[in-house]
């Protein structure tokens, strides 16, 4: 998180050296992305559920699932979130919602069919831990900062383009030959990528935290370990996911970034989840 603020500060600095008046641009960018972030955060549960075509889980048909969720909520000391079902064969699950009182979890029918009771317990505990640790808030902050950085750099680059390589018409006296301008320019090009890499890193840390919180809730590491091993063996792609919601699922839903043990270094930087083998190894040590 500190890294994000640092990058944002560097970007602001870069903009400041290029434009005489970088402060207004920064403020506008922050306000716009702030409004977008608050809206998406407030409505995050509805949006995520609609995008994934989730339906509420009927309490008679899914009695066991509801009982499982209720029991774990008692263990975790959080109110029970709404439970949704996604009709998809790929085993996966996600949690969403701005705070424990306004939260929801969604499970695919594929997961319900493939996992036994202790494994399902591990997965549900993982999702409930996301809610308990306010991970939606954390990732919204991350997305906001990425958005601000992208907006600021985009705006600045456009202004430079329109002014034929110079950013400020009245700044000719000082800008010519300013070596910092080149540094600023490079930073502008590179910072959105750096920001995305950091967002992925934050997401990976929160995933690990959710794994560990989950076994604290269930007091039974083999349950979640077994579930992750089953996920590792399964290769079905989740169709209800999109890039925007990728970070919330328990496993990478998109085949492009799937962990096959042979991920290139580049892909590793952008993974929203740590590789399954790492997660399993970590849990085994507990």
């Amino acid at each position: 998180m500190f890294g994000f603020v640092l990058v944002l500060a560097l970007v602001g600095f870069a903009v400041g050296t290029l434009i005489g008046n970088g402060v207004t641009g920064t403020i506008i960018a922050l306000v716009i992305s702030g409004v977008m972030a608050v809206t998406s955060y407030w409505k995050s549960d509805k949006i995520a559920l609609a995008v994934s075509r989730a339906v509420p889980a009927d309490s008679n048909e899914y009695r066991r699932l509801h009982n499982l969720v209720e029991g774990l909520c008692i263990a975790g000391g959080i109110p029970k979130p709404q439970v949704y079902i996604i009709h998809d064969d790929a085993p996966n699950a996600f949690a969403t919602g701005r705070n424990p009182k306004n939260a929801a979890i969604a499970i695919t029918t594929g997961l319900l069919n493939q996992m036994n009771r202790v494994e399902l317990e591990g997965v549900v505990a993982h999702e409930l831990s996301h809610i308990k640790n306010y991970d939606i808030l954390v990732s919204t902050l991350a997305v906001t900062l990425v958005g601000s950085i992208a907006l600021i750099t985009d705006m600045t680059l456009r202004m430079m383009w329109w002014n034929g390589g110079r950013v400020s018409r009245s700044g000719d006296r000082n800008d010519r030959g300013n070596p910092l301008a080149i540094v600023g320019f490079v930073l502008l090009l590179v910072s959105p990528i750096i920001a995305r890499i950091m967002q992925a890193a934050v997401s990976r840390r929160r995933e690990t935290l959710a794994d560990v919180s989950a076994v604290r809730m269930t007091r039974y590491p083999p349950g979640l370990i077994s579930a992750l091993e089953k996920l590792q063996a399964d290769n079905t792609e989740t169709h209800s996911a999109s890039m925007a919601t990728a970070h919330m699922w328990i496993e990478q839903p998109l085949s492009g970034v799937k962990d096959a043990g042979r991920l290139g270094m580049w892909h590793k930087l952008f993974n929203t989840h740590p590789p399954l083998s790492e997660r399993i190894a970590l849990l085994r040590e507990i």
Partner: protein, 184 residues
């Protein structure tokens, strides 16, 4: 004049810190109380399910007097022990043991086992047992967090002043540590 300002700022700062610490201790203590009442809620739910169970079993296996009477007696001891934690723990063991016996017995009555009411009661009871376990786990976590908070430095200096004292963990009775025996 600036010395006075500094002193005022320090005092205000300290007051804020003390206030924040006090509030966090209050929050943790209330969580402990809430967790304790959660256990009670689940225990009561189990007590409420037992009469239905006894009636259902009587319909098929009325002559199993010992087992049925044991369950009823255990339930009564559970109701009367609601105030006292020690008696409650003893009653809890009695109830678990009696229920286990009853369910083991039901294995030899296929009509009873097929009864929908019996099956759903069995599942409800098993579900309630899980919840009691989760509630006790949460109580333990809450007590641990509270005790740690009041014993850490520097909060320990304030805790005594405000009257926060450590809470007891829920102890498993020695009887509960013995592996249960099921007699057919």
């Amino acid at each position: 004049m600036s010395t006075t300002l500094v002193v005022v700022l320090v005092v205000v700062f300290l007051a804020l810190v003390v206030g924040a610490t006090y509030n966090s201790l209050i929050r943790r203590r209330n969580e402990v109380d809430n967790a304790w009442s959660q256990i009670d809620v689940q225990l009561k739910r189990r007590l409420d399910l037992i009469p239905n169970l006894v009636e259902t079993v009587k319909g098929y296996a009325a002559h199993e007097k010992t087992a049925l009477e044991a369950v009823v007696a255990a339930r009564n001891s559970g109701i009367s022990a609601q105030a006292n934690p020690h008696a409650q723990a003893a009653a809890d063991n009695a109830i678990s043991g009696a229920l286990r016996q009853l369910f083991a017995l039901s294995e030899s009555y296929p009509d009873l086992k097929a009864n929908q009411g019996f099956v759903s009661l069995q599942e409800e009871l098993s579900n309630t047992e899980s919840r009691i376990a989760y509630a006790r786990q949460f109580y333990g976590d809450a007590v641990s967090a509270f005790n740690t908070a009041i014993q850490k430095f520097p909060t320990v200096l304030l805790a005594g002043m405000f009257g926060f004292s450590a809470r007891d963990f829920f102890e498993a009775e020695d009887a509960a540590r013995v592996v249960p025996e099921v007699k057919f």
